[in-house]
Symmetry: none
Amino acid sequence: MSDNASGDAIVDTADRLHSAAIHLLRRVARHDAQSGLSSARLSALSVIVYGGPVTIGELARAEQVTLPTISRLAQGMERDGLVEREGDDADRRVVHLRATERGKCILRDARSRRVHDLADLLAVLPAEDRATLQRAAEILDGLSLG
Amino acid sequence: MSDNASGDAIVDTADRLHSAAIHLLRRVARHDAQSGLSSARLSALSVIVYGGPVTIGELARAEQVTLPTISRLAQGMERDGLVEREGDDADRRVVHLRATERGKCILRDARSRRVHDLADLLAVLPAEDRATLQRAAEILDGLSLG
DNA sequence: TGTTTGTAGTTAGCTTGGCTAAGTACAGTA
DNA sequence: TACTGTACTTAGCCAAGCTAACTACAAACA
């Protein structure tokens, strides 16, 4: 249990996760493109739909990108009718983003598409392995990879 | 364990894995920018270094992108001294790409940095969580996501 | 032989989505 | 009132994805 042994194990895990993330993302990106939602939009819209209305700043923090990036992403999604803007009565600098019905619908559609692809892969795994993946995703979510 | 319950669990897992992969790669990509090797370059250079010299077309297929994308990527990497071009005697349309010593060196460096950056994040987790991630990475590896 | 068809790669031009720097508008406070 | 901080936008740069159209060459064949 030296620092070295422990460190090497972590590095190995990191290496594998890195590789797995690249492959997984490439895989689903193909299907996401068909739904008309880019990877960035899909991720952001998920936050809005499942987490309720959020401000630009909250979304930027959730997505681990800068404010201008979210600002422009929000403009595009508003233009395409996926989200709506709403001012804040208490603080007029703040912008709240809320998913439109169309946005929710399209997200559900994209999500479903993604699942049909990934589920085919995950379905061959024993339930125990699927549980491990579920838990791993939760752990990574909790890491706030910023 | 109805189809529904099982399906929903898979949906949730797929969704979380997707989100985690996006955030993880965004995180390491940002880190790479500091070391001068973008995510795309790192991946392509890995193919060249560990797989030996490849043609533009082979690299495009390996990276699952179009020829123009690789063509421009190769131009940039050649300009920066990471790879060298070489013609093919038998077929003069073909271009072979080979990593330079500098390219190999920079790849090893960037890859190590990228992985160690990730490892630093994982280090704060309890050993049990790290084991879960390790196991999850192995499971994903076995899925052949390519 | 010459022509046609196919293939490898490049060029041009568009789009998205990262970034920083600088600006606007407002809130909070001394 | 003036100053400082905060929330967001605008402007502009860059990388990396794409399609369409081009060049150069290879291969097949009438």
